[in-house]
């Protein structure tokens, strides 16, 4: 800790010296007596001067929480001698915006007896946050000197967006040869009814459709769709496009991708992640709660970096983008490189659906004519892009964050039913 003199020491020394010099020069002890308290303060302060050697330990009670939850940061302070210690957290601005939560606390720390100071900071924004530094200032005896240090907390606090319970699930066109809950187009042993055919040798008696058999006089058996699992790849657009509220757009992407990952993992699908943008990262598909945690951490840690370099989807290994996987892209459709990646994925035979995450942009009635015309061109261009995607069998549904995500998934499924998708199921 760095030691320095306080204003109290400077004022005390100056006043004492001035009083003593004047008293000597004019021969008036009254002046020296007037400044006597400062003289005594200096004497007592110097006599008891000792660096309390304050040690601080910072602990976060819970490092994973939801938006709106309160992070409890516990600071344990120990000192070799009694000292008044001021502790002030300095978290990042994106994490805590309320100044009330980070008000410094001034407490007395007794010698060799740990004192706990707790800060309660509301987590206001999703993301992976650095707790930042902790400014610790200890006042020595009689406040003539102080020691100051800035302690840094290692580790991160992960703030998850508020969870959304989805009722809808986008049914994939392509499934894996593993049991699951998605209906396969193949007819075999499943739950959902597909068709009937005439009884053949080897058919199970349990499959006989007695109603159809009674009506026709021959034996008929019911055929059912196979229940299969699929690989879902969340393709997240992290290209930074200037002129847009990137954080708000990416907030929608994070919100939707985590909700959809959770709903697919709940039905034993393997879910993976590909972050395609300033940097390219991926999480290989897997199942289970741990995978949800892994995906959430990866999504929250997504860095939004401006990058002008060309990026191509084929650079991804097969384990990141397995064949026949169902790709759900989350994008504002602003960057051509990402749009190209969607077409590439579709061209490689993947089943692709796009959730267009664009916040509501209320156009002002008083907007200038040129602006209105530009906006009309912009809307037309985006509409053409959606049509081009639909032609390629890529359904697009927009989400502005206000609408229920289930409604958006419903729209997406209706559009997918009308689309053309290559490949076998």
């Amino acid at each position: 800790m760095r030691r320095s003199a306080t204003d109290r020491l400077i004022v005390s020394v100056l006043l004492s010296l001035a009083g003593a010099v004047i008293a000597v020069l004019v021969g008036m002890p009254e002046v020296a007596l007037f400044v006597a308290p400062w003289l005594v303060l200096c004497a007592l302060g110097i006599m008891h001067e000792r660096d309390p050697n304050v040690q601080v330990q910072i602990a976060v009670v819970q490092d994973r929480l939801m938006v709106g939850d309160v992070v409890e940061v516990q600071v344990t302070v120990t000192a070799e001698s009694n000292a008044v210690v001021a502790v002030a957290p300095q978290p990042s601005k994106s994490f805590v915006t309320s100044t009330e939560a980070i008000r410094p606390v001034v407490d007395l720390v007794s010698a060799r007896r740990p004192t706990d100071i707790t800060f309660e900071m509301p987590a206001q924004e999703w993301g992976t946050h650095d707790l930042g530094a902790m400014d610790v200032e200890s006042s020595h005896a009689y406040g003539l000197f102080r020691s100051r240090a800035v302690m840094r907390q290692r580790g991160a606090i992960r703030v998850h967006p508020t969870p959304r319970q989805l009722k809808e699930l986008i049914a994939p066109w392509l499934v894996r040869r593993v049991s699951g809950t998605h209906r396969s187009r193949e007819s075999a042993q499943g739950i959902e009814y597909a068709d009937i055919r005439q009884f053949a040798a080897g058919d199970s008696v349990r499959d006989i459709n007695w109603r159809a058999s009674a009506r026709t006089g021959d034996l008929w058996v019911s055929q059912r769709h196979l229940d299969r699992a699929t690989d879902v790849i969340l393709l997240v657009d992290s290209f930074v496009e200037s002129g847009h509220d990137v954080r708000q757009i990416f907030g929608l992407i994070v919100d939707a991708s985590i909700a959809i990952a959770e709903s697919h993992l709940a039905v034993t699908d393997r879910v993976g992640l590909v972050e395609f943008g300033g940097v390219v990262r991926w999480v290989s598909p897997a199942t289970g709660r741990v995978q949800l945690q892994r995906l959430t951490d990866a999504i929250l840690a997504t860095g939004l970096y401006a990058n002008a370099a060309d990026k191509e989807l084929p650079i991804l290994p097969a384990r990141a983008l397995p064949p026949r996987s169902f790709i759900i892209a989350f994008t504002p459709l602003l960057d051509d490189r990402f749009v190209e990646a969607i077409f590439t994925a579709r061209g490689r035979g993947h089943d692709v659906a796009v959730i267009e995450c664009v916040p509501t942009d209320d156009q002002s009635v008083d907007a200038p004519y040129a602006q209105s015309v530009a906006r009309s061109f912009w809307d037309a261009e985006r509409s053409m892009l959606r049509d081009r995607m639909a032609e390629q069998g890529v359904a697009v549904a927009g989400w502005d964050g206000d609408e229920n995500l289930d409604v958006v998934l419903g729209q997406l499924m209706r559009r997918r039913h009308g689309g053309r998708v290559r490949g076998r199921s």
């Binding site: 030691r3 003199a5 204003d7 109290r8 020491l9 400077i10 004022v11 020394v13 006043l15 004492s16 010296l17 001035a18 009083g19 003593a20 004047i22 008293a23 000597v24 004019v26 021969g27 008036m28 002890p29 009254e30 002046v31 020296a32 007596l33 007037f34 400044v35 006597a36 308290p37 400062w38 003289l39 005594v40 303060l41 200096c42 004497a43 007592l44 110097i46 001067e49 009694n82 008044v84 001021a86 002030a88 100044t99 008000r103 410094p104 606390v105 001034v106 407490d107 007395l108 005896a141 009689y142 406040g143 000197f145």
Partner: protein, 166 residues
């Protein structure tokens, strides 16, 4: 907020005490005290911990004028007003510190009060002792004053050595 009000009230109280106990013939003390009060209130409101103490200079000036004019010098008056002014300064510093938004626990406040009380207590003890010694002495000779001030200067030198050594 109430600490600021307390500091302002204590400052006005100290100034009023100086004016009330000054000789009626010494008219120059009143404007000096007005300056002291103005400086104290201004820097207390502005929140400058270093400059709020500048109000002590007119107070020292008032003591010099009063001591030079009065026929009977009063050591106890100086030491009492000095202690009062010192407590005013400490409360002013505390008020400025608190206005920066820090949350002080009761233990920290009690510790500071205890330190201020110790300083005032020791000063009053010294003052009473010095006053008693002076009353025993037949006259406040220049030699006695020289001994006292010599002791003060020696203490200063020791203190500065200690500070630089640390």
């Amino acid at each position: 907020m109430w600490v600021t009000v307390l500091a302002a009230a204590m400052g006005m109280g100290a100034v009023a005490a100086m004016v009330a106990t000054a000789s009626e013939a010494m008219t120059a003390v009143v404007p000096l005290m007005a300056v002291a009060m103005l400086l104290h209130l201004t820097f207390l409101i502005l929140g400058s911990a270093r400059w709020v103490a500048s109000a002590s200079l007119p107070m020292v000036g008032g003591i010099v004028l009063e001591s030079g004019f009065a026929e009977e010098s009063s050591w106890m008056r100086s030491i009492t007003v000095g202690c009062w002014w010192y407590v005013t300064m400490e409360v002013s510093w505390e008020a400025i510190e608190r206005r920066r938004g820090a949350r002080n626990t009761a233990e920290a406040t009690a510790h500071r009060v205890q330190e201020v009380a110790t300083v005032v207590g020791v000063t009053l003890l010294i003052g009473v002792g010095a006053s008693a010694l002076a009353s025993i002495a037949p006259a406040r000779s220049v030699a006695l004053q020289a001994v006292v001030l010599g002791g003060l200067l020696t203490a200063f030198v020791a203190m500065i050595r200690q500070v630089t050594a640390n």
